[in-house]
Amino acid sequence: MRKIVIVGAGVIGCGVARELSRYRADIVVLERENDISCGTSKANSGIVHAGFDAHTGSNKAKFNVAGNAMFDALAKELDFPFRRNGAFVLCFDDSQTDRLRALYDQGIGNGVTELRILDGDEARRMSPNLSDRVVAALYAPTSGIVSPYEMTVAYAENAARNGVRFRRNCEVTAIRAREGGWNVTAGGEEFFADVVINCAGVYADTVHRMASDEPLQVVARKGEYVLLDKECGGLTDQTLFQLPTHMGKGILIAPTTHGNILVGPTATDVEDKRDVDTTPEGLRTVIDKARLSVPQLPTRSIITQFSGLRAHCDRNDFVIGWAREGFYDVAGIESPGLTASPAIATHVAQDVARKLDLQTDDAFVAERRAIPCFARLDDRARAELIASDPAYGQIVCRCETVTEGEIVESIRRPVGAVDLDGVKRRTRAGMGRCQSGFCTARILQILARELGTDVADVTKKGGDSRIVFGRLDK
């Protein structure tokens, strides 16, 4: 069987793995972090963009519009949270309405449907908390929101179900050409590959240079966010973008698929690709700029801040294609990368399948079901679930109403959770307003029990991120 190594288990790596699992091949995904979806895919805006932002003819425009159209079917097939909530691009200055019009024209050129330009009052009727200063808005009904890490996990679980192997804590340190393929050194092991697919996010340039002399530079561009409590979920139903002003690129306000409100991001290039610190300036910028859209932004309802890194490529577009024989780059996948990911995954899988002359696998199963979400069920369905497994009657995270059953399931699944953050991304336990104050001890116990280890060895996110320093009596 032909061997394929995919480097990176973000939404791109997992998506490509899933699409390639339609074919008969030996596929392994290598991830440097302790879990999948730990880079850009875990900390971004979670927006399924309509597709008016990118220049017509660019990869970004092409894959954005194609990806957007795939979400309804894909979210159903892989059972991850997605909703078309619509988006506004807000214009605050009469002299800028021609730029709004230009965005509209670009959208039409890119093939975006249903775009409309509204005046301020029309926009406010649809989204009553909008500022009086909004004079016009571009309205894009096809814009949506998605839970990016749940989408990534869904891709990975389905890929694993169809035979893809995932290796975590397995950083690629060398790629050497050999006859008929590549030797990939990762986590102290050698992996042979007919084809290597580079989906390494902000590290895609490093991985690229292991195999290619062509210049490629990926800059980590930090974006800081704040997240508001669900009690503010009614602030806006649509995603609110801002037309860039003299103050620079705008800040978005968007509902999340779980009913919180997300505000951000800033954009600062950082040297250190591990630097996801939040900053006082970033926080101030986010809030100040967001108030332009919604003046009464309830900052006392902030429950957490975080930041993520975008993989910005010096070529200013997605880099998708063969860098050389047997080495495929999927690099510079910054916004609208999440939106584009289904289209990119399909495109890459087809390219690679064609190259390796892969046969489709008749045993491929396209459907994947999510972990039952107790909080979203009605009481009758809850009762049935508990009857099937009493652990679904034990609430562990009270803020998000997450049960022991869900947490256990998140650990036991293929490519399951191995740390606190992994449980959080898969079940939302610890993601609510108390930010895991109450449930940390319980989740530690469950993780230790399920992983057959000691509480003292359970980590937040792998490495040296252990929660406690051993037992008191030692």
């Binding site: 704040v226 997240l227 591990r274 996801v276 610190d277 939040t278 900053t279 006082p280 970033g282 926080l283 006392r300 902030i302 429950i303 957490t304 801040q305 975080f306 009481d379 809850r382 009762a383 508990i386 009857a387 009493p390 652990a391 009657g393 034990q394 609430i395 009270r398 803020c399 109403t401 307003r433 108390c434 930010q435 895991s436 104050g437 109450f438 940390t440 001890a441 530690l444 116990q445 509480v455 003292a456 980590t459 937040k460 996110k461 792998g462 490495g463 040296d464 991120s465 252990r466 929660i467 406690v468 320093f469 051993g470 037992r471 008191l472 009596d473």
Partner: protein, 419 residues
């Protein structure tokens, strides 16, 4: 399932309410508790200092809880444990869940006794790394005292709330080095006795008007940057300095846990975060009562027990008489008093003592706490010092209660004491 009285939470508030309701004649009552055993947060408070008012002796948290659990057992009051309430609904149907399934309990009266939760990091916007080693003080306390694990070795504590102070001492006992307790305000929100017994006795520095501006680390906390703050509480960056540590504890305030109250349509006070109640501890939803830390955050469990016993007795009476007031005297806080509970007093009711619980907004010296009924002083109390960290009580004697019930507005305020 039907019950006359459903009490949500079997911590100190729920236990005291249950005992008092029973003793007032109510036999058809049920306590719902999400943990495996009753006692609530007291079970992790293994230090002493509890019960001086209630039992006239110094008990640990678990001992204090055990006294009440014993009283509950003696009365054969049922506790349904490992059970989480999901909502109460305006019809007083309590929906709850446990490993046996979903349960819907129709109640005649409900007492909310669900306690409070700690403010998390996000609520106070500390910049920096999102690494392991940042705990709320209560989480660290649970990890140590209930689970038996050591959450850190070199510790900086932000906020001087009581749990933070207690944890400074607790971690020191277990060999940790507490580098500093950093308090944003120029005064502590904790009890003075805790500052003396938990910090001063162990030479742990307490830095007023300071805050943590940055948490550093990748996987685990490596250090924090602290700085002094100005009068607007903005950090003065010239004063910034780094403290090496592996752990940050947050003791930056408690918030009444009122998600359930909201599902029942209960109106909350923006000041306390708890329900607006009358002198029987009844919220604005008929037959729904609230007491303890879910109502407003207390500093002594003894006062939680007192308040909750009152709520339990009143709930029993409500079930028996089916009578509740529809007109109220407004209780208003002003002039340095941040809030008063109860926020209103029923115009019809018994001539029983009413205790007004309050917190002040700042440190004041040589003041009188005064209650004025429609402008006329009816009761006052002298205090050498009042602080936001210590709850104050003003008692309305039965002899003035009838007069109060006939009034319109009861204003509680601070006055400078004339020398």
């Amino acid at each position: 399932m039907k019950r006359n009285l459903v009490i949500i939470g079997a911590g100190p508030a729920g236990l005291a309410a249950a005992v008092a309701a029973y003793d007032a004649g109510e036999r058809d009552l049920l306590l719902l508790e999400r943990e495996p055993i009753g006692g609530g947060i007291l079970n992790q408070c293994i230090h002493n200092g509890f019960g001086l008012h209630t039992f006239r002796e110094e008990l640990t948290g678990p001992e204090y809880a055990a006294r009440y659990l014993q009283q509950v057992r003696e009365r054969n009051i049922e506790i349904m444990s490992d059970t989480t309430v999901l909502r109460i609904g305006k019809d007083k149907v309590v929906a709850c869940v446990n490993r046996d399934g979903m349960h819907h309990i129709q109640a005649k009266a409900i007492i909310l006794a669900c306690g409070c939760r700690e403010r998390p990091r996000g609520a106070i916007n500390i910049a920096g790394a999102r690494c392991a080693g940042v705990f709320s003080a209560g989480t660290a306390q649970k990890l140590m005292n209930t689970e038996g694990y050591m959450p850190g070795k070199r510790v900086v504590i932000l906020g001087s709330g009581d749990i933070g102070l207690i944890m400074a001492r607790r971690m020191t006992f277990e060999g940790a080095k507490v580098e500093a307790v950093v308090e944003l305000m120029p005064y502590s929100s904790g009890l003075n006795r805790n500052i003396v017994q938990c910090l001063q006795d162990f030479d742990i520095p307490l830095l007023f008007s300071h805050t943590i501006v940055q948490i550093n680390g990748e996987d685990r906390v490596r250090s924090v940057v602290i700085a002094q703050v100005d009068e607007q509480r903005n950090p003065i960056m010239e004063t910034a300095r780094t403290i090496e540590c592996d752990t940050v504890l947050l003791s930056v305030g408690l918030l009444p846990e009122n998600e359930l109250a909201k599902t029942g349509g209960v109106t909350l006070s923006p000041v306390t975060g708890g329900a607006i109640v009358d002198d029987t501890m009844m919220t604005d939803q008929d037959g729904v009562f609230a007491c303890g830390n879910v109502l407003h955050v207390h500093d002594l469990v003894d006062f939680v027990s007192q308040e909750s016993a009152h709520a339990g007795a009143c709930a029993a009476k409500y079930i028996r008489d089916r009578a509740s007031s529809d007109a109220y005297v407004d209780v208003r806080a002003s002039g340095g008093v941040r809030y008063v509970v109860p926020q209103r007093i029923a115009t019809r009711g018994d001539d029983v003592e009413i205790s007004l619980k309050m917190r002040v907004a700042n440190v004041f010296r040589n003041v009188r706490i005064v209650a004025r009924l429609d402008g006329q002083e009816i009761v006052a109390k002298r205090k050498q010092v009042v602080t936001p960290g210590e709850m104050e009580t003003l008692t309305l004697k039965p002899s003035v209660v009838a007069q109060v019930r006939a009034g319109r507005t009861l204003e509680v305020t601070l006055e400078e004491q004339s020398v």
